[in-house]
């Protein structure tokens, strides 16, 4: 099966080509079959590769398919690296991707651009799989930019809406800012190691000492890339806007897979980061502050997708903290559980939006549990999972990250603990506002309320099961369990990863678990009392809001700040360059040169009198001068 690894990304690419070229000619059913089928085949091959690898014991396999770029002493190959990190990512991407593709066949069924949608989704799968399989930084970069393109195309899927296309542009451009950092990182890697091939680079890095300046710079540059792609401070503002895309897109690209690419990249470069403690510290801090800030913003949002978007930003922050404290395997654990429950949350939200005829404002919802029983049940599990209630998936992975943060630094631990309370608050707020209390929508919406079709609910149920049991892959030893996942990742992370539970006492772990369970119960009761009643508290006028509420509601005015500090000055600079520098200074200088010539010619032209006598005189003077000079020259020599 490992021989067939090239098919894993190529099958979705084939799906893209067929659906793309046959756009308009292929029926909806066929487009869905091609779209889902190609991902299904990839998933099957990925499972086969996973199984083979278990037998092999985690030895990495590299497959090269020829040279891509060759210039001087630099060369890049088309090559894939199959190791346990890429296998897990491949399984997540194809597995969750498959479920979301199937769900989309139902969700997007009434859309005119159905074929186009599946073409783009398949193109995304191709790029994402290249990203996780690439055996060098440049291959990774192909996928990295490619998923950015697909994100752009899918955010702007409904391209008639100016706001949506603005969001699409914003996403692409903000990602590009990060990409420049990534590129500079690649260049420095080439300058240092003479290649960008993972295996060679990582082997070469072993001879560096911890805290080396070059490695510090490399990891910092790469992290800038990760900040853009994984939506961290200061480049996170594109992700909430990206919710303009269809909901399955939000689930697949902007929650479960693409945005975790930054986490994957750093986990992939774990050897470099382990030797760069300064950068790692920075990664952890950025992660922690992002987690907290996004958590605060999520508290007051009323758009169901926006809440989930900020929640994603916040959870990504958690993962970066894990990376920063070198708990790589915990970060990957959270990537996996997050993929399950966040995909589920988005798809559940999609199901709600579908039922509510496109309504996304939670203030207009309420009491939906009676009408959408399956969605309600799956969302309940997902909420418990993300809040970290045992025994659901989020509990284990979050617990691991909290433990790791604790054993590294108290500040990180406190920041993450506060965030964890916030997570519980905004998730239960979402949950109760949507499913409990009285229905607050229009009459038309009420009549139209329906549970989604099977094609949508079955993926929900599967993801629900995964969100419920996914955490058992990493049961802490304090509970007498075995950490399958960190053992599984041992060939990749080896000694670099921190197993935090070995550093803290069992007592700490028990109390951490106990406190979080109590906290969640307390928070959920509190939120329930506020929202599980006939009428939710009315929206307050701006003037009555507290400063904190306003800051949260207006997202700390970061978008406004960027507009003032970057967008407007850039436009002003553009006008200044064109209006003043180009037109007046540069062109002025050039024309000035021309004018000078004109000036001298206007003097010299006075010689052209038209008077023949004058010309003859000048000629005679000339001849005399020539003769004179000739004589002088002859005498001199």
């Amino acid at each position: 099966m490992t021989e067939l690894v090239w098919l894993v990304p190529l099958l979705p690419l084939l799906g893209f080509v067929i659906n793309g070229l046959g756009f308009g000619k292929i029926t909806k059913n066929l487009a869905a079959i091609i779209g889902c089928g190609s991902v299904l085949l990839s998933f099957i091959i990925a499972c086969g590769i996973f199984y083979e690898d278990l037998g092999r014991g985690g030895e990495a396999v590299q497959k090269t398919y020829g040279s891509w770029i060759h210039a001087g002493n630099y060369s890049v190959d088309f090559s894939f690296l199959v190791d346990r990190l890429s296998i897990i990512m491949m399984l997540i991407v194809t597995g969750v991707g498959l479920l979301i593709h199937i769900y989309s066949a139902g969700y997007m069924h009434d859309e005119a651009g159905f074929g186009k949608f599946f073409a783009y989704m398949n193109l995304f799968m191709f790029n994402m799989l290249v990203l996780v399989l690439g055996a060098n930084y440049v291959m990774l970069f192909i996928g990295w930019e490619g998923v950015g393109l697909c994100s752009y195309l899918l955010i702007g899927f409904w391209f008639k809406n100016r706001e949506y296309t603005a969001a699409a542009n914003k996403a692409f451009i903000m990602n590009r800012i990060g990409d420049l950092g990534f590129l500079l990182g690649i260049f420095l890697i080439f300058k240092t190691f003479g290649t960008s091939d993972f295996t060679t680079v990582f082997n070469g890095a072993r001879s560096f000492s911890s805290g080396d300046v070059t490695l510090g710079l490399i990891t910092l540059c790469l992290f800038v890339g990760a900040i853009g792609k994984s939506a961290q401070i200061p480049l996170y503002t594109w992700l909430p806007d990206a919710m303009a895309g269809p909901t399955p897109v939000s689930a697949l690209i902007h929650a479960a897979t693409m945005v975790t690419a930054g986490i994957y990249m750093i986990a992939r470069s774990n050897i470099l980061y382990a030797l760069a403690p300064g950068t790692s510290e920075f990664v952890a801090l950025i992660g922690a502050f992002t987690a907290l800030m996004a958590g605060i913003i999520a508290l007051t949002q009323t758009d169901i997708k926006k809440v989930l978007a900020y929640s994603t930003v916040s959870q990504l922050g958690y993962m970066f903290v894990a990376l920063g404290v070198t708990a790589y395997s915990s970060a990957m654990f959270h990537v996996m559980t997050h993929a399950f429950f966040k995909a589920l949350l988005f798809l559940g939200a999609g199901s709600v939006i579908h039922a509510m005829s496109g309504e996304q404002n939670m203030r207009k919802m309420g009491g939906l549990r009676k009408h959408l029983p399956v969605t309600f049940m799956t969302m309940a599990i997902a909420t418990a999972a993300i809040a970290g209630f045992p025994p659901f998936a989020g509990f284990f992975s979050k617990d691991e990250i909290l433990t790791a943060a604790y054993s590294h630094s108290m500040i990180l631990f406190v920041l993450l603990s506060v965030t964890s309370v916030l997570t519980a608050v905004y998730m239960f707020r979402l949950f109760f506002m949507t499913f409990f209390g009285e229905f607050r929508g229009t009459k038309h919406q009420l009549e139209h309320l329906h549970e989604s079709p099977k094609i949508m609910t079955v993926p929900l149920l599967i993801l629900m099961v995964l969100s419920a049991v996914g955490g058992f892959l990493g049961i802490p030893e304090a509970l007498g369990g075995k950490h399958f996942l960190s053992e599984y990742f041992n060939p990749v992370f080896g000694m670099n990863t921190r197993i935090a539970q070995h550093e803290v006492s069992n007592l700490f772990e028990y109390s951490l678990m106990g406190i979080s369970v109590l906290m969640i119960i307390f928070v959920s009761r509190l939120v329930q009392r506020r929202y599980n009643k006939k009428d939710i508290p009315a929206e307050q006028p701006e003037s009555k809001m507290s400063i904190w509420y306003k800051l949260s509601l207006h997202k700390f005015y970061i978008d406004e700040l960027y507009d003032r500090v970057i967008v407007k000055p850039l436009n002003g600079m553009s006008n200044f360059f064109f209006g003043t520098i180009e037109k007046k200074v540069i062109d002025g200088a050039v024309n000035g040169g021309g004018q000078t010539v004109y000036f001298f010619s206007s003097i010299l032209k006075n010689l052209q009198t038209g008077n023949i006598g004058f010309y003859v005189l000048m000629m005679v003077i000339g001849i005399v001068a020539i003769i004179f000079f000739t004589i002088v020259k002859t005498i001199a020599f």
Binding site: H70, T165, L180, L184, L188, F578, A589
Partner: protein, 490 residues
């Protein structure tokens, strides 16, 4: 002999297109350009990259001055020869289905320009290079001056005088070099390579060539002829200028400046690269607010060629190889963009961004083609633009990290102005001008998809081009290294 054929075939077809009836001249010119294409492809297939030379033709021209009609190609020339022969048919095709007054003159001038440019790219004699360089200027002067748009006379005159004045500095430098050659003096370029020049001599020669090429490329701040000329010229003229002609300047940098005065390059490249980087940022920033699509692409072109020049001045394998492939790719992308803008302008009568909107809902195919060309232009991986930009930035990075960071802003700003363009023209509600956009004709489809084929194939298999120029570039780098130990540190 193939080289000579490349010059003779267009000449024959110039005669033919003047004999034939006016309505056939376009077809005749197309045939001529296709025939040249075939010859150049044969040449490429026979090209033995190891000895680096193919089919030299050398004939005494003005022997009393040591001037020979000496043409031949190495890997570096061949890339640009291919660029010229590949793009010329596209440029002729793009003009075929429109009514052109004095068509026989128009097409003859295009072919004449092809001769001039091919002559410059193949010349092994500096005098011949200079003559060809100027010969190419005459047809484009008439093309812009006679068939151009608003304000064409003033704009064209400025362009002509500016470039002509610039190349006079080169002429002085060439004559100076000629006088330095031993014995009976020669204009043979390879003899120039062997000269031992003091560093002050090198500096003077460097600036002589630099001024000429900086105007042609153009490098900031010698560019002010370029945006108005691109905007005013008829589309065929803009394509010739942006696609091929400006590469004569970049080619000159590689052919003359790097190998003849490497010490001066090492001495002055900080200044040169700063100018290039300024041009990159300057052009990109201005492009962000342009409303006229042609002007927008003109300024973006300023940024793109600035990066190519910066790569050349960084004097390493990645920078120069990046420049080679990006010269080709920029040609393809610029021609494709100007072709598509012309396609829109011909249907709607305008090329102002404000007037458009929502074309994606009117004509999907136009929108898709434009999107792919745009991706090539912003350098998305697996399109042609990426490989060039990647290698160029990598080359600049090895010279200086901060320069690479500043030059790299092009990938961000490029996305800003191209996506803004795309959003305003193709997305949103359908505007009145957009309603007039009718489906592409057969010819337009063929041109578009062929160009896209180049964008994708060269993005996935860039070695097709890189392998052609590699031996010659290595030779060049050896020469530079050998020539001077001063730059050993680079």
């Amino acid at each position: 002999m193939h080289c000579l054929l490349l010059l003779i075939i267009p000449l024959i077809f110039i005669v033919l297109s003047n004999i034939l009836k006016v309505k056939h001249t376009g077809m005749a010119a197309l045939m001529g350009s296709l025939l040249t294409l075939v010859v150049s492809l044969i040449m490429a297939f026979h090209f033995n990259s190891n000895d680096g030379v193919a089919g030299d033709f050398n004939h005494a021209w003005i022997s009393s001055f040591g001037i020979n009609f000496h043409i031949g190609v190495d890997g570096i020339s061949l890339i640009l020869v291919l660029l010229t022969t590949i793009l010329t048919p596209f440029i002729i095709c793009a003009s075929l289905n429109r009514k052109i007054e004095n068509a026989n003159a128009f097409y003859s001038l295009i072919l004449l320009m092809q001769i001039g440019m091919l002559g410059a790219f193949m010349a092994k004699d500096a005098f011949l290079f200079y003559v060809s360089y100027e010969v190419a200027l005459i047809p484009i002067y008439f093309i812009c001056g006679l068939w151009g748009g608003e304000n064409r006379i003033a704009v064209t005159l400025k362009f002509f005088i500016y470039t002509l004045a610039g190349s006079l500095f080169m002429l002085v430098a060439i004559i100076y070099l000629y006088l330095q050659t031993p014995g009976g003096h020669t204009f043979e370029i390879s003899e120039f390579y062997k000269l031992n020049l003091s560093s002050s001599q090198q500096s003077w020669i460097f600036w002589g060539f630099f001024l000429a090429f900086a105007v042609k490329v153009p490098i900031f701040p010698f560019h002010s002829w370029q945006p108005p000329t691109y905007t005013t010229a008829p589309t065929a003229g803009t394509m010739l200028l942006a696609g091929i002609m400006l590469k004569m300047g970049l080619y000159g940098l590689i052919r003359f400046v790097l190998p003849i005065v490497p010490e001066a390059v090492a001495q002055w490249n900080t200044l040169a690269i700063i100018l290039c980087v300024c041009g990159i940022i300057y052009g990109s920033v201005i492009a962000i607010r342009q409303n006229d699509l042609k002007t927008l692409i003109a300024f973006s072109s300023l940024a793109h060629v600035g990066l190519i020049a910066a790569g050349i001045f960084s004097m390493n394998a990645q920078g120069i190889q990046g420049a080679m492939i990006q010269m080709f790719n920029h040609g393809i992308n610029a021609v494709a963009l100007f072709f598509l803008i012309d396609l829109l302008e011909r249907r709607s009568g305008t090329r102002l961004m404000d007037a458009f909107g929502g074309i994606a809902s009117v004509e999907k195919q136009v929108a898709i083609v434009f999107a792919i060309v745009m991706l090539g232009s912003v350098g998305l991986p697996l399109t042609n633009g990426f490989v060039g930009e990647f290698l160029l930035l990598m080359g600049v990075y090895q010279w200086n990290m901060w320069a690479s960071l500043m030059a790299g802003l092009t990938i961000i700003l490029g996305a800003v102005y191209m996506l803004r363009l795309y959003r305003n023209v193709f997305f949103g509600e359908v505007s009145d001008a957009s309603k007039t956009v009718t489906p592409m004709t057969m010819m337009e489809k063929i041109i578009s998809w062929k160009l896209i084929l180049f964008i994708l194939v060269l993005g996935i298999f860039p070695n097709l081009l890189l392998d052609i120029s590699a031996p010659s570039v290595n030779e060049l780098l050896d020469m530079i290294a050998h020539h001077s130990n001063l730059i050993g540190g680079l």
